[in-house]
């Protein structure tokens, strides 16, 4: 057996910084701070519009903004035969472009801020944002971390807050119904 001859390939080219590949068109540079919109209870601002345009139907997009997946599992539990979200005319859809309401979980980490803004901008109006869980409302046990915001309200205009760690599926359902004004006397 003859040993294979290793050919010299010459000096390896210095790998310079590769050109970044843009997967999405740059909509706008991410600005720190400066929330997209203000806080506002949906009961005042949007309820009439929402009810007239959506009727009894609601399409929901779930956005994970750095959660531990506890809230996400509870959202998944809404679809099981026991809670059966679809019996109320509510469904979870695969794109923000199809959605009326954004369910956001997690503290809004730095890495996901731009994704959250792009998701929100992709939604047609009227659009609603529901903050799910202690992290999305106040940062929860991660409040004050260097790696993200303390809650999503710094980045997205929150209409309804659903407390819990994680919230029960019933609590999530209540939050969705409050957001579209289907529970009398609540907003």
């Amino acid at each position: 057996m003859t040993e294979p001859v290793l050919e010299s390939v010459g000096p390896v080219e210095a790998a310079g910084p590769a050109e970044p590949v843009m997967l999405v068109a740059p909509v706008k540079p991410v600005e720190p701070a400066e929330p997209v919109g203000g806080d506002g209870p949906v009961g005042d601002r949007l309820s009439a519009v929402v009810r007239s345009r959506l009727g009894r139907s609601l399409h929901v997009r779930h956005l994970d903004a750095g959660s531990c997946n506890g809230c996400d599992w509870e959202i998944a539990a809404l679809l099981n035969p026991y809670h059966d979200l679809q019996r109320l005319g509510i469904d979870i859809v695969a794109s923000p472009r199809h959605a009326d309401l954004l369910l956001v979980t997690g503290i809004m980490t730095r890495n996901l801020e731009q994704a959250a803004r792009l998701t929100y901008e992709a939604m047609p109006e009227p659009r609603l944002v529901v903050a799910v869980g202690a992290c999305a409302i106040s940062g929860g046990v991660f409040a004050g971390t260097y790696a993200g915001r303390s809650g999503i309200a710094d980045v997205l205009p929150v209409d309804v807050r659903v407390p819990g760690c994680p919230p029960r599926p019933e609590a999530l359902l209540e939050g969705l119904l409050v957001a579209v004004g289907r529970l009398p006397g609540r907003r």
Partner: protein, 114 residues
């Protein structure tokens, strides 16, 4: 193969789907809801406030406030209270439109509730 039994199973099981917005939610015994304080037993020593990992509790002269948006329902306040005045309740549906709507205030002395 118990074919008849299989065919009758849906009738025996009945409907399992929750009727939540119409009826109250069915909660297992282990479910932990919003912390509640017994104003008669509270001595306002602040053990719950220092035990809270997320600073969800606020104790001032006459009121005890829990911020549902910060509370993680861990039960540290319940364990820390030397008077056993705090217990995690059964209220889990707490959605609100504003941060102020998440504050649940209990008057420790009559007439102090805002």
């Amino acid at each position: 193969m118990d074919l008849i039994g299989r065919l009758l199973r849906p009738w025996r099981t009945g409907v399992v789907t929750s009727r939540y917005p119409v009826e109250a939610p069915l909660l297992e015994p282990a479910i932990r809801g919003l912390p509640e304080v017994d104003p008669g037993r509270c001595t306002r020593d602040g053990a719950c406030v220092s035990a809270c990992p997320t600073a969800a509790l606020l104790l001032d002269a006459g009121t005890w406030t829990v911020d549902a948006g910060r509370c993680v329902f861990c039960g540290a306040c319940e364990r820390a209270c030397p008077e056993d005045a705090i217990a995690l309740g059964r209220q889990v549906t707490l959605a609100a439109g504003t941060p102020a709507g998440l504050l649940h205030v209990t008057a420790l002395r009559p007439g102090d509730e805002r």
